[in-house]
């Protein structure tokens, strides 16, 4: 079993349309027992029984980390995705029974920081909703810069600016408002840590700017879950298990391995955490690496693959699994 794959049986007790793209779901345990506390930035993996397919998607927990009565997550609808968010939006309603994982945190606050500087883009706001609650309870020092497309798509802008009028700054793309990153980073006191969650371009922008201004990489934290992309079907031989599995067009390599009954390790299912790293014993074809866990040299080396997001095109692929 993987760490973090302890499961919790829950029922959906509330579904709220936050705006035209985002829905919020509230989960409580089936037996009324308390949920584990977590730390801000943690996610849960939600199991979705979508016809014959089991989807496992990670969503950041946005509720108060100390509130053990319920967890809430917000899901942005992705019409181009593989269907997990569409399933949540279209098929999950109040009263449904679901299974979620224990919380796992790959984006935790570094509590040695003297100040937490948070930068969010769009739905990337969700881990910060929990982190700001955690820091408020601890009297921690934070500042949140939140970029959204339009006022109507600004999830939780009202809540955040009401609760933290001096610490939350919102930028609207449609009003040509942009985070003035260079000046923002220049004035930060020693001991500031940066946290960024949002689209890949935003993460790269912040990391690049921080590096150029001499920030050590150890104080720049980021989280980006990649959704597995669809691709051509292919076959994979699992050497330890002694079986061959067909990976479908809209299925990830990890999902296909799990469907075959092989217990493979995982945590984030988004190419970030490194838990599912698997040795490639043999391949005749091209490994399509999509993770941001392996080093460039490892991507080129052809000896490792992250089956949660990466695929293969070619004749034979043999994994040590």
């Amino acid at each position: 079993m993987s760490a973090g794959t302890n499961k919790i049986a829950v029922k959906v007790t509330d579904v709220v349309a936050v705006n035209e793209l985002v829905k919020r779901f509230r989960f409580e345990t089936m037996d009324g027992s308390l949920l584990p506390t977590f730390s801000g930035g943690a996610h849960t993996v939600v199991e979705m029984k979508d016809g014959g397919i089991t989807r496992l998607n990670p969503y950041s927990l946005m509720s108060d980390p100390m509130d053990q009565t319920a967890y809430t997550v917000s899901v942005r609808r992705d019409d181009e995705g593989r269907g997990g968010s569409l399933f949540m939006h279209n098929s999950v309603s109040v009263g449904d029974e679901m299974v979620i994982s224990y919380p796992v945190n790959l984006f935790s606050l570094d509590l040695r920081a003297r100040k937490h500087l948070m930068i969010a883009g769009g739905i990337g706001i969700t881990p910060f909703l929990a982190q700001t609650k955690q820091l408020t309870a601890m009297n921690g020092h934070f500042e949140l810069h939140y970029s959204v497309r339009t006022p109507s798509l600004g999830s939780y802008v009202q809540e955040l600016t009401d609760q933290h009028p001096n610490n939350v700054h919102v930028y609207y793309d449609d009003q040509e408002q942009r985070i003035d990153l260079e000046h923002l980073l220049e004035g930060q006191p020693l001991g500031t840590h940066i946290y960024v969650c949002g689209p890949k371009g935003m993460i790269n922008w912040v990391r690049g700017q921080a590096e150029a201004l001499g920030w050590p990489e150890e104080v720049v934290h980021y989280e980006e879950f990649l959704a597995p992309q669809s691709g051509k079907p292919f076959a994979v031989r699992l050497a330890k298990s002694g079986i061959t599995v067909e990976v479908g067009e809209h299925e990830s390599l990890l999902e296909a391995i799990e469907r075959a009954g092989v217990d493979a390790p995982y945590l984030c299912r988004g190419g970030a955490c490194g838990q599912c790293e698997t040795d490639v014993l043999e391949h005749d074809g091209e490994l399509l690496h999509r993770d941001h866990w392996l080093e460039d040299s490892e991507h080129a080396g052809g000896k490792k693959i992250m089956p949660c997001v990466s695929r293969f095109e070619g004749r034979t692929l043999v994994l040590d699994r």
Binding site: R114, E186, P189, L190, T192, L213, W215, V219
Partner: protein, 202 residues
């Protein structure tokens, strides 16, 4: 003096690198004794950064050997202090006023680098963001684990605690919190049975 290569030891023991200029709008350099050589080298490599450099230098027993060369360079600020203890209030002020992006370069003895690292981390700087280069003496700053007293510039193993007088064995076990190596009584079981003193790394 050429840099000394410390033999591989336990993980607790700090290791040092070679100073290299990093991007940043402010640079703090602190050195003692032969550590000046590392500062002179980096200044020669990256002359443009001197205008953003605050240099704090403690000559210790090198006297005026390096101070003239350092004074001739166009550092934004150069402070030459009589001792670490005399310089530490200035160091704290500099760190207190600093912003993220500050680059910290330390060179010289382990005692100096350890103590400045301790101050910088207390100000919120990440350990990984602090560059160090060992130059000169291999003397150590030792904490007696029994009386907690600090003995500076220990050159021999064992040595006598300057506070409680116990015979202490020089360990590689290092405390970042105290910025000191740990000294443990070597003749506790058999008082008076003390091995001959040897010079460190001799």
């Amino acid at each position: 003096m050429p840099s000394f290569e410390f033999p591989k030891s336990i993980r607790s023991r700090p290791t040092y690198g070679t100073l290299a200029a990093r991007p940043g709008k402010a640079h703090l350099m602190v050195a003692d004794a032969e550590g000046a050589e590392a500062l002179l080298r980096i200044a020669a490599q990256e002359p443009s950064m001197m205008a953003q450099c605050h240099v704090m230098y403690i000559p210790k027993d090198t006297g005026t050997k390096y101070t003239e060369q350092l004074s001739a360079l166009p550092f934004a600020q150069l402070y030459i202090g009589p001792s670490y203890e005399a310089s530490v209030t200035r160091l704290r002020q500099v760190l207190n006023d600093a912003h993220m992006g500050l680059q910290v370069y330390l060179a010289g003895t382990e005692g100096l680098m350890g103590q400045v690292t301790q101050e910088a981390m207390a100000s919120g700087l990440a350990l990984e963001a602090i560059q160090t280069e060992h130059c000169g003496s291999v003397a150590r700053r030792m904490q007696c684990v029994h009386c907690k007293g600090i003995t500076e510039d220990v050159m021999t193993d064992p040595f006598v605690c300057s506070h409680c007088g116990l015979n202490l064995f020089v360990r590689d076990h290092y405390s970042r919190r105290h910025a000191a190596f740990q000294g443990v009584c070597i003749d506790a079981e058999d008082p008076g049975n003390v091995p001959d003193q040897v010079e460190l790394y001799s």
